[in-house]
């Protein structure tokens, strides 16, 4: 009898996400604010005159292509992890890592092309800003590479698979974000140089 009249005043479970994934999104929000500050400072500075026209290095087109490809390989390795095909997972991560390094090398080359047209870091803000935007993005990309490296090490120890996806999912999110951030910066520079 007592069992029958058990009171079931059960409130709903609260909405929630995976806390670490959520924290990553918040982290990306703060990075967005960082670059929003720089790009809006860029626009404000440009609007106030005394602006030098700088040609955007052609090599940045190549690096944009490279980072888009690396997003594809990253995604491929995530899908492979979901299917438990570990060799493809590792291969995808290695390709991502290499493409990331190629991207950084190309960015470095772009700085060289800027110097060739006498646009130095120390000079008018019009050229300094390009270095700030590319350099700070590069720093964040290095943090992404470290993340990919950690995931690769974990994949080597068979710690990434279809039932342990959180870390690689976070890494993929972050990597796509860094790629998207670069595309935003590139288009921004093309439109506002």
């Amino acid at each position: 009898m007592v069992n029958d009249i058990h009171i079931v005043e059960e409130p709903k479970k609260t909405l929630s996400m995976h806390p670490k994934k959520f924290a990553l999104w918040l982290f990306m929000v703060s990075i967005v604010m960082l670059f929003a500050a720089w790009t809006s400072a860029y626009i404000v500075k440009k609007a106030s005159g005394d602006w030098q026209l700088i040609e955007i290095p052609q090599v940045l087109w190549v690096s944009s292509l490279v980072i888009m490809l690396s997003s594809v390989s990253m995604h491929w390795s995530k899908i492979s992890a979901k299917k438990d095909s570990i060799p493809q997972l590792k291969m995808g991560l290695i390709i991502t890592l290499l493409l990331g390094l190629v991207f950084l090398a190309l960015q470095w080359q772009a700085w060289g092309q800027l110097v060739d047209q006498q646009a130095h870091f120390v000079g008018k803000p019009s050229s300094s800003f390009i270095y700030i935007l590319t350099g700070m993005h590069g720093l964040h990309l290095i943090s992404g590479l470290i993340f990919v490296g950690i995931i690769l090490a974990a994949a080597w120890q068979y710690k990434i698979h279809s039932r342990s996806m959180v870390r690689i999912e976070m890494c993929t999110t972050y990597w796509h974000f860094l790629g998207g951030l670069w595309l935003y910066l590139f288009i921004f520079l093309l439109l506002n140089h």
Binding site: V8, E9, K12, V29, M33, A37, A41, K45, H161, S164
Partner: protein
Amino acid sequence: MATADIHVDEGLQHHDDHEHDHHDQNFWTKYVFSEDHKTIAKQFLITGIFWALLGGLMSVLFRLQLGFPDMSLEWLRPILGGWLTDAGKLDTEFYLALVTMHGTIMVFFVLTAGLSGTFSNFLIPLQVGARDMASGFMNMLSYWFFFASSAVMFTSLFLSTGPASGGWVIYPPLSALPQAMSGSGLGMTLWLVSMALFIISTLLGGINYVTTVINLRTKGMSFSKLPLTIWAFFLTAVIGLLSFPVLFAAALLLIFDRSFGTSFYLSDIYIGGEALPNSGGSPVLFQHLFWFLGHPEVYIVLLPALGITSEIISTNSRKPIFGYRAMIGSLLGIAILSFIVWAHHMFVTGMNPFLGSIFMLLTLIIAVPSAVKVFNYLTTLWRGNLVFTPAMLFSIGLVSFFISGGLTGIHLGNAAIDIQLHDTYFVVAHFHIVMGSASFFGMLAGIYHWFPKMFGRMMDRRLGYLHFWLTFIGVYMVFFPMHYIGMAGFPRRYYSFTNFDAFNSFADLNALISVAAIITLAAQFIFLFNFFYCIFRGRKASANPWKSNTLEWTTPRNPGHGNWPGEIPTVYRWPYDYSKPGAEEDFIPQHIPYSETPESNLPHENDLVRIETQDGDAIRVSDQGTEE
């Protein structure tokens, strides 16, 4: 394959458990590098108190100069040494350093880290019903980044060239050129390093607070049942996440200008008749970036205090908070508006007057949510069964400051008046009352109210009353006369007024302010004694000394790691069921289901019980009393 996977998972699980065991044993991991949110909160609190004392002492030093310009400070030579001139007076540059460090310390180290760091850390997991923060490790890092930042800032006080001296707003070119003043040398570099560390600490903390509030709430704790403290901490953290990166961006460009020779903020500057190579930059750009953080920062400082006050006033009025949803709405409104009013700090920078009027309009709109909050505080107090605990007195003090400081905000928000009053003591009076003192009172109220939960003991009430009255009267004695001095035209940050005939007649008023400041600071030692004495010797607290509804009072007297020894309580009702008609006691905590309180349930609450029992054998609430 499957077994292998399970094995791996178990291995990970085991690893985690092993780490946890480790934490409980070792002194270093328990009290120093702790990952427990309660310990981290206390670390923030103690560090904040240290900084508050230092910042307060600095303010008394420059008040001595302003109130008694002829006084010899020779007796301070053992502490100040070379910062005194041969005549025994404060060095002029040191005066600027004092003002700068007082501002930096109070705004960032006391009222941001000390207030949010303490109470967000302490209360979020306890009030939403979580075992700990989303990431204890990040939380620990947050404190230790703050500690490193504090250490760097503290070191800068002992430099022979002095700490940063360009004002807490560090406007270039003053802060960008080491030639400009001695404090813009190494002192400014350390200031920037310290703030970079501080921003990392704030972001780590803020990410944790937001994640915890959204994802780790206990069963039943919907957003419409969250205590207003949590709403305030949550929105504060969101504001911080959006605005601190912008300060970081601004500071980084300043670092490049200072140390690498770029010209983001510098252009056409001549020093000693010689032109600097920098060209093309704009110092106003820095002001835009700085105030995009700087204004939300005001609310980062104030919102937690408002949240704490809402909770304390409702508990001690023994009444539900008036307009719970309006309170949330006004917090949201303030949070959103805080991002679109920054240029009201810049009315005199040569900004387009049309733009100025837009920012003026937006600024004045903030008066609406602020007035909603004041109205709701007063209507909550109205005809309540007021219990005047020290925490309650400090909360009422906050409301008083929020009104009197808010009214002058309406003056200053108008560009036409602000151009007249800009950079005078009127501004100083305004923000010290509405932001400084109000938030400080919120912090003190929080300490008095949650001390029993933090340390398991009570603070002494009588000393609390004495502390309150001396501080409350002291604050008004300090800042009220400042309005007159400001209207008379006294500029901020001036070392001395004795050379100006126009200002001589206010010498006695300045002396009065200084005496009041000294008394107010002295009163804080009553608090310090009370605080530290009662940690060890205070009367032992009962589990729920204020008869409060929120979840933290359902924990044991000294909650251990994980907060609740058994299961985390489930939440059934909002946190403000005080003096509910029909109820046996004048409070019903959040974890009491409606089915246990048939005598006080409202019709729609009874419906809730019925719906919830439908899956089993549906029973009537009225039957239920006899069964149990």
